[in-house]
């Protein structure tokens, strides 16, 4: 039926899970109270009139963390097949992964020394 047999459950469950928020929001839309007045739709700012919007340019400090994250996330993706097949690969694969991780650790140490992981 499908190209990937055994993944029927995957697809059906995905559809069912996607319908959960759709159903919940539709039901709430039908049952929920309907209020009027423009004041209730103003942005919350601890009771004050909001001063300016939030869509402005500002320094997102997590930017460097996001960059380092991409590097290490790709690293883990490469390591998954290595870990699954490790019992068949033996010592050579261990040394290779050691070199691979060592290169990335050098990168981590560099980022650390450069202050990319500092909250300043």
């Amino acid at each position: 039926m499908f190209v990937l047999s055994g993944y029927e459950y995957f697809l059906v469950f995905l559809v069912i899970c996607c319908s959960v928020p759709v159903l919940a929001l539709t039901l709430a839309g039908l049952l929920g109270a309907k209020g009027e007045g423009a004041a209730r739709r103003t942005t919350y700012e601890s009771g004050m009139e909001p001063i300016g919007g939030a869509w402005i340019q500002f320094n997102i400090r997590y930017y460097m963390f996001a960059l380092v994250f991409v590097i290490f996330d790709v690293e883990t993706v490469f390591l998954y097949p290595w870990a699954v097949a490790f019992n068949q690969l033996g010592l050579l694969a261990f040394v290779e992964a050691l070199i691979f991780i060592a290169i990335l650790v050098v990168g981590l140490v560099y980022a650390w020394r450069k202050g990319a992981l500092e909250w300043s």
Partner: protein, 372 residues
């Protein structure tokens, strides 16, 4: 090794004997475990919310909810119904499409990850080959939803909360993935079923917690941070950010965040039990007991007992961890954002890498003890 009962096979065979074609019988079976899983997930939210409120109350010498139902057990259901009747407010300044999409994207991956949670040999919706990797992948989708809702609200608290949530998730995802990698290496498989089977046979002594004590701690800290539980609840720190990315949400959209966070807590506890505490295995191996008592493991009643015991064990272990998480909430103060990032990047990440390499080294040195 006993095979355990296979409800799917029995169900399909029963229908085929009744004269239905095999394809139709399979199609009839398809939605059953899924519906059951979603209902159990909903019930688990009520149970967890009730437990959290009762344990929190006990920790602070209060009584907690007591009027709705016996001992207040229906409190969470009452709250849910109340949310359903509340007005859905979309702020005039917000981006309404992203604002609606945000909570949906937070909830869908959490529910979808239940696909790979096993409660027994065949008690799983489907035994995907990628198993635990699906959970890792799905848990990286959630921060997109958080960021989306934080940004679309056009509220300063929401934006800061959303950014914090994303930064926190990505910082703890790598230690989490690396500690799971060590388990995967010992099991030679990503499938959750194989991971539990690899721990079976020696009762409590065979569980991964003894072979991966460091990975166990890393996973626990990282999982708490991924669930945004105290001491890592910075994205919604109410003293600083009102409610973080949830500030502008009302009614059922807020309810979806609430549901998402509690299902995520239960899901993480279940995955934790599967990875480190032997999943459905009992502390004393049932197979071993049966062989001592001289009962064959093909006896039907023994299989039923084993299966029910397996479900009970999985749930019990998971709720033990939920209990620990709730107690931690009232024990440890909230960390600061710089401490949080330092803990993730400068402590957990190097330790997780060392743990992985150590596991690989030990696997080469002692193949028998570390999964061959």
């Amino acid at each position: 090794m006993s095979q355990g009962i296979d409800l799917q096979d029995s169900f399909i065979q029963l229908l085929v004997q009744l004269g239905l074609p095999t394809g139709l019988a399979k199609a009839l079976w398809l939605p059953l475990p899924m519906t059951l899983m979603l209902i159990s997930a909903t019930v688990s939210i009520f149970v967890t919310v009730w437990l959290e409120r009762k344990i929190s109350a006990a920790a602070q010498q209060r009584i907690g909810p007591e009027y709705a139902g016996p001992l207040g057990t229906l409190q969470a259901a009452a709250d849910g119904v109340k949310l359903l009747f509340k007005e859905d407010i979309v702020p005039a300044q917000a981006d309404s499409i992203l604002f609606t999409l945000g909570p949906a994207i937070v909830v869908i991956p959490v529910f979808f990850s239940l696909l790979i949670v096993p409660f027994g040999q065949h008690m799983v919706i489907t035994d995907l080959g990628i198993g635990i990797f699906l959970w890792i992948a799905m848990s990286s989708v959630t921060p997109i939803g958080l960021l989306m809702s934080g940004y679309s609200s056009n509220n300063k608290y929401s934006l800061l909360g959303g950014l914090r949530a994303a930064a926190q998730s990505i910082s703890y995802e790598i230690p989490l993935a690396l500690s799971v990698l060590a388990i995967v290496m010992m099991s030679n498989s990503l499938s959750t079923i194989d991971i539990v089977q690899q721990q079976s046979g020696y009762g409590i002594l065979g569980w991964n917690i003894w072979r991966q004590p460091v990975g166990f701690l890393i996973f626990w800290i990282a999982a708490l941070a991924e669930c945004e539980r105290l001491p890592f609840d910075l994205p919604e720190a109410e003293e600083e950010l009102v409610a973080g990315y949830q500030t502008e949400y009302t009614g059922m959209k807020f309810g979806l965040f609430y549901v998402g966070s509690y299902v995520n807590l239960v899901l993480s506890a279940l995955i934790f039990a599967i990875l480190y505490l032997g999943g459905w295995e009992s502390p004393i191996s049932v197979d071993w007991l049966a062989s001592i008592l001289g009962i064959s493991d093909t006896v039907p009643w023994l299989q039923v007992v084993t299966a029910s015991l397996g479900i009970m064990m999985t749930v019990l272990k998971a709720y033990l961890l939920v209990f620990l998480a709730v107690l931690l909430r009232w024990t440890v103060p909230r960390v600061r954002i710089d401490q949080l990032l330092d803990l993730g990047w400068k402590f957990l990440l190097p330790i997780a890498l060392v743990n992985l390499l150590l596991t690989a080294g030990l696997k080469i040195a002692f193949p028998f003890a570390f999964g061959g």
